[in-house]
């Protein structure tokens, strides 16, 4: 008996017009927009709604250092997009070089953030506020410029927002390391660049969030 002929699968309904992994990443990023919008929204509410005077960021935070870190992250976004461009042209050497630079820049950002945290904690800024007897307490709380309540609100908001962002960068660096290893093994040769594009979207999103956070937390 002849085997039954399998009916051909009906043609897939046309969706949004992009390949599935990319759409998946965008939907994930939409949920991330929601996550960070909630954090930023909470910060705005705490700051505007606070009856106490809010600390001037420049009095506590190191703006030039963080501006440098912002620059590093922007550079990493360029190297990421250059890696993607190289992948679309099947330029394997360029892809590997730009990916390595992206990983290094991302790791530098996290490293500088760790140093910043260490310095801030040493100076007396904690997620719970400003530590009694610390240099920051002497400068801001004891002199009456800042209340303990406002310091607590600022400390918790600062560490929550920058901490969650730093966590995202760390996850990005780890994922990007795997992508780089795969690139060195030739995993993105012959026009298979989708993996590079999808991790790139995540990476640029993390950069975009930092652009907003840097302005809202450090500059305003």
């Amino acid at each position: 008996m002849a085997p039954a002929v399998q009916p051909a699968a009906p043609p897939a309904e046309e969706g949004i017009g992009v390949y599935t992994q990319k759409l998946g990443m965008w939907v994930f990023l939409a949920s991330e927009v929601m996550f960070f919008t909630a954090l930023i929204g909470t910060y705005i509410i705490l700051r505007w709604g606070s009856a106490e005077s809010w600390p001037v960021p420049q009095d506590i935070l190191n703006i030039p250092l963080t501006a440098f870190n912002t620059f590093v992250l922007i550079c990493s976004s360029v190297s990421m997009v250059k890696a993607y461009a190289a992948a679309t042209h099947d330029d394997q050497k360029g892809l590997r070089l730009w990916l390595v630079l992206t990983v290094l820049a991302g790791a530098t950002f996290v490293g500088v953030q760790v140093l910043e945290y260490r310095h801030l904690i040493h100076e007396g800024l904690l997620p719970s506020g400003i530590r009694d007897g610390s240099p920051l307490a002497a400068r801001l709380v004891d002199s009456g410029k800042l209340t303990a309540t406002a310091a607590g609100l600022f400390g918790s908001a600062f560490f929550t927002m920058t901490g969650f962002h730093g966590f995202h960068v760390t996850c990005g660096v780890i994922c990007m390391t795997f992508v780089t290893i795969k690139a060195f093994r030739g995993g993105y040769s012959g026009g298979r660049f989708h993996g590079v594009e999808v991790i790139g979207l995540y990476w640029h999103f993390v950069d975009l969030v930092w652009i907003i956070l840097f302005t809202i937390v450090y500059l305003i």
Binding site: Y19, V78, F193, E197
Partner: protein, 92 residues
């Protein structure tokens, strides 16, 4: 259309734009600009930079418009969150 189908924009020019805007932002903080004007300028500059990243690095400019809607859909929820909670503060 996949993003790879379009011509790659000048990424270094976008990087230059982001760098210049960041320098302006940081410089503005150290200048004697009225507070409300400074906040407005900083927010506009940040939005401009975010837009550059989304349009050129994330290729939203070259993607179907529906994809941009996916990304923008949650933003109204954030605005509702802030406005609604601030109303509570206003009532006290």
């Amino acid at each position: 259309m996949d993003a790879a189908d379009h011509k790659h924009p000048n990424y270094v020019a976008v990087w230059g734009g982001l760098f210049v805007l960041t320098v302006i932002e940081v410089a503005a903080v150290y200048m004697r600009i009225p507070r409300h004007l400074l906040v407005l300028a900083l927010l506009l500059l940040a939005a401009w930079k975010a837009l550059l990243v989304a349009l050129y690095f994330m290729h939203l400019r070259f993607e179907p418009k529906r994809l941009a809607l996916v990304a923008l859909a949650p933003l109204p929820l954030g605005i509702i969150l802030v406005v609604a909670v601030l109303q509570e503060f206003a009532k006290r």
